[in-house]
Symmetry: C2
Subunit: 342 residues, 2 copies
């Protein structure tokens, strides 16, 4: 855990080229002034690391403004209110800060903060993963955008990732047949074992196309796409008539500079009447109640599984971020910024 | 008009490479045998020529089986029943044959035939265009797939074509702002004149991207895509967040052999949460009643305009087909196979 007594935060020093270099960001002390009215001061406990943050570091076209050079890295945190100038919060409250920074302490408007409701028997980290934005992303993409239904053959790429693993289970729990694509034998075993996927494909050791032919002999109805590139194309080529391709992420392109290529044979969208649709979780916040109702019940019933991967110490955030792009994280990647309350 | 006394039909002799060559097809006499029970014999009056028929001539992946070498060319016709072995039809009835051939006489199951209901004051050809599959295609794509709404900025490519011209007017009649892309000054004048489009872009004489910037300063909400390639890409690059790209056709690729490329920067679908969806009119036959209710009323009110371009003589069908790919047809392209009933 970070031990500095002054607040610390990561700022963007320059835009990364390719993989994030350690000195593309710098960890700096900063002085927090007096807390403004209707604001709260939050001691951050966990920081969420997400592939999309690599996009924010770049100047490519994106859905939020790029982070400016010299600005604090943006990120979602879970923390404890240590000072409040809002009637809605008091010291000791646990809160989620949607657009905080990679920082030990965040001063934020009270209206930009949501109370964390802990579920009995569920670790606090779940509020950053299966019962947080990760779970909402998986649910919105699979249910609202993908409109998964019983009997569908569903493929999920990056299926052992934080979103993919939950997305695949949602499809299973709603009656679909689910094939997950992941990197490495251990991840694939986790998918077909604990998570109950019908099949898995290890893209590091298998020909993805041939494996899809084997595991999806009747084609693919729904693709929950996290990766893009060749893996996406192999799935696309096997989409059934009226198939749906939900774009949740295209991580294979986030560290490259040029435009991200689409499927090779675009005409299939017309011939097979496919639907390709991108989504971002922030568009689906109005569905949070419905999503967390369903996800929370499954968690309580022990039917929905997840992993949180906590890397302790804010100073390790940049190194931890690289785990996402090499596929070495195991489940939802968090930085442990400070201890949970006793 | 065709004058041979024996039935004639066009058969596929070999698959075209690039543009259709005259001898890729051959016009042959054939003997029709005795009419089978529950069948009708139809003297074809009009044959519909459609870009999609070029796809049927090829072996590329498609939504119906390719036409086999030596088989009659497939096409929709409007004709008069001359013999009936079905209680539902009698000689003299005017009918549409959805999957007939490029032929003077069609023997078809009665259940594959639909009665033509003429509208007062509307030419018979309209049943092959604005009040036929062309109109249904435009309506289904714009209303059901594209979900056009008042205030949308809509772009239609091949906007002076049979489908595009109706699609754009539907968008206008439902309160959208409509920009049409077409080839040549005369077509562009027709769009902004008689059809009431808000603006037109002559892709032969204008930089499409610059013209889109000028005519769609607030971006594009809905693209009704008939063309593909560079024109589609110019529209795609300007799609607004939550924009919809409806793929009705990709004619720019129909005469090439390789795969049809999609938009260059596929990642925009994710970042701007776009939806790209292909459709084929046959999937929307259940919407015919709703569509023709709306289209028929607009026609009666004089608010919906269209052009039928009749090339007389079945023997001219192959040459006529080439008009579609050079953009020289003016409105819905039909072959006049035999005279209308008096």
């Amino acid at each position: 855990m970070t031990t500095s007594s002054k607040p610390l935060r990561w700022q963007l020093r320059r835009r990364p080229t390719g993989a994030i270099a350690h000195d593309d960001l710098e960890l700096v002390e900063y002085a927090s002034g007096a807390l403004a009215p209707e604001h709260v001061r939050v001691r951050n406990i966990y920081l969420s690391l997400d592939p999309t943050q690599r996009i924010w570091m770049s100047e490519r076209e994106q859905y939020l403004p790029p982070i400016a050079i010299g600005q604090a890295m943006r990120g979602t945190t879970l923390g404890e209110v240590v000072e409040s100038r809002s009637e809605r919060f008091k010291a000791g409250d646990l809160v989620l800060v949607g657009l905080a920074g990679w920082e030990t302490v965040s001063d934020v408007p009270a209206q930009a903060v949501a109370r964390v409701r802990r579920q009995p028997g569920v670790p606090l980290t779940a509020a950053m993963s299966v019962l947080g934005n990760t779970g909402l992303t998986a649910w919105a993409g699979m249910v609202k955008v993908g409109q998964v239904k019983a009997g569908d053959t569903v493929v999920v790429s990056a299926a052992a990732g934080a979103v993919g693993s939950v997305a695949g289970q949602i499809a299973k729990l709603r009656g679909a047949r689910v094939v997950g694509i992941a990197g490495g034998e251990a991840k694939c075993r986790w998918l077909t074992g604990e998570l109950g996927f019908d099949a898995s494909i290890d893209y590091r050791n298998e020909d993805v196309g041939a494996a899809l032919d084997r595991h999806c002999p009747n084609g693919i109805d729904l693709d929950f796409e996290n990766v893009g590139g060749d893996i996406m194309n192999a799935v696309f080529e096997r989409m059934n008539t009226f198939g749906r391709m939900v774009l949740c992420g295209l991580i294979s392109g986030y560290q490259s500079e040029g435009p991200v290529a689409g499927p090779a044979n675009f005409e299939r969208i017309l011939m097979q009447r496919l639907r390709i649709e991108g989504f971002i979780v922030i568009d689906h916040l109005p569905h949070a109640k419905e999503a967390f109702g369903e996800l929370g019940a499954w968690v309580q019933q022990g039917r929905l599984h997840w992993r949180d991967h906590v890397v302790p110490g804010l100073e390790n955030a940049v190194d931890a971020m690289q785990l996402l792009f090499s596929g070495r994280n195991e489940g939802k990647l968090l930085v442990g910024v400070s201890p949970e309350p006793a």
